[in-house]
Symmetry: C2
Subunit: 367 residues, 2 copies
Amino acid sequence: MALISPSRRLRRTPFSAGVEAAGVKAYTIYNHMLLPTIFESVEADYHHLKNHVQVWDVSVERQVELRGPDAARLMQMLTPRDLRSMLPGRCFYVPIVDETGGMLNDPVAVKLAEDRWWISIADSDLLLWVKGIANGYRLDVLVDEPDVSPLAVQGPKADDLMARVFGDAVRDIRFFRFGMFEFEGRDLAVARSGYSKQGGFEIYVSGSDIAMPLWETLFAAGEDLNVRAGCPNAIERIEGGLLSYGNDMTDDNTPHECGLGRFCDTQTAIGCIGRDALLRVAKEGPVQQIRAIAIEGDPVPLCDRAWPLFAQGRRVGQITSATWSPDYATNVAIGMVRMTHWDSGTALEVETPDGMRSATVQPGFWL
Amino acid sequence: MALISPSRRLRRTPFSAGVEAAGVKAYTIYNHMLLPTIFESVEADYHHLKNHVQVWDVSVERQVELRGPDAARLMQMLTPRDLRSMLPGRCFYVPIVDETGGMLNDPVAVKLAEDRWWISIADSDLLLWVKGIANGYRLDVLVDEPDVSPLAVQGPKADDLMARVFGDAVRDIRFFRFGMFEFEGRDLAVARSGYSKQGGFEIYVSGSDIAMPLWETLFAAGEDLNVRAGCPNAIERIEGGLLSYGNDMTDDNTPHECGLGRFCDTQTAIGCIGRDALLRVAKEGPVQQIRAIAIEGDPVPLCDRAWPLFAQGRRVGQITSATWSPDYATNVAIGMVRMTHWDSGTALEVETPDGMRSATVQPGFWL
């Protein structure tokens, strides 16, 4: 692995001092900001995440805030998911599409009030799309990036740790709901969500000044729970089928290709900019789709580019994320496969930097 | 420096194989893509750049292509620079602003034809803003990112190397003009431009398939010119006052604050979305502006965040890029300074991670 050259453009976060003190070894860049990727090792971090509790600096999940009388209308213009039933206090995973139905981002929308929303974004400057649309349609809405940095608490002991800091009421937060909880006199949105399948919370830390105090409070409270600094884990997220925008999908893909059809209500999402383009694919289905794929043999090398998938010498798709899974003792992977070859059990070949490997389409992800 | 975790999301370029073979040591991420930052060392690369010729993989300068009857109208909507006089074959450095006059990018616009433009972008997803505006205003224009990856040839021997590959006619290309030159049967735009003050060219390589053949042809042709793989050099660019979007300016800043007033014709740039917001600042001038600043003492540490600037204990600005300059034997820096303290010769103090340092506003950059 190469080194990363620091500069202001690769923004530090309000938690960077804590991350560094915890011995971060590697980063990725996400929304022009540092996202830790390794503390002890990817594999050690993975086992710890599945058994204990970790605190993750996910400030890179920047918020796009919509505020004003047209906020809800604008939010619906962005996504084919029907938002009419969404109440304040809810989080919705929303595919964001352009006028052709291509994915621009796959964020979580947080409804704070009828006229106030946060879009907690994946790795693209969604702010620019939203501002462009708001301007072009002359909507009465403020669109900006507030000083809000999410901190995730993930792992089987997340409830215990959070209860010690925010009180037992956090245990009652239901999945993809949030409540307001006080820390040092400030009200913070705390949601049951996060980019792992181990359970946990995301705290939307409003105001950089309380970031390190909260970080330190969590670590002090969790000492006997073996709390550690962690980060989204490459192995765990592939096992669990958590997609990564830019890795597993791009603006070339529709939500349906990404297996996100269940988050689309294309018929009734009136106002969605990509609705016309998606109506046909919503009805007929996509011609290629995301699949869980097992790759045989020894651990695969780092997957830093798309690996072509073949069947009888014909190209039928590509692998976009892959890694060795210690718990499942196989290489786990995410790929986009053409419908002719996407059925569970289909035998494929994948061209890795180490040579061709046998691969098999799985019935689902590993969980 | 920490390690960078590779993934498909941090896109490789069509020249990555060449960059790796040349022994790249560090990268930054720019437009979701790998940009080399160090080959031998920042200082060795700097001396070589000033004396010989380098080939730079600047694929990260992604193109936003505008095509169709409304292309020119859309281009003018994006910038306060008056584009009416711009002929095909010209490159214009254009501040891109939002409706408040805040900088969204500082790209080079390349006019291929009246109805076909490339915007060669700095580090923000400008594509999303342009697509949003095109959609909102219902313009008849195609907006996308084509398979075009710039390759820069920079340094005092750049003309000699380029003439060997493209013929002597490249010597006649004037600054910020481009001509079409053939390589392996394909017409490529070759511009006299680049992110250094050492002179040279940028080749807009259309089609990834000819990227490595061109890379290898340049290295074979330049062996006796001591050609090397290089990259934008942190020292040389600060000496020369080449601004970096995300480092030295953000969407908080107007073009006038960035010293880019000479690229604004706010009165006559009719149609520019930020025009109303900029009219006042264009007339009255900004209250803070970019300045060259010398920092006294030993070499400063890596500048990975804004360093506050003080005068008599009062905050008057910030340093956003800084490094030791071997050729000028001082620390060279770029900062944003309030008008009360921006005159040449003004004594300031800068808070670096190593402690307070004396600093002085310079009459201009070092060139």
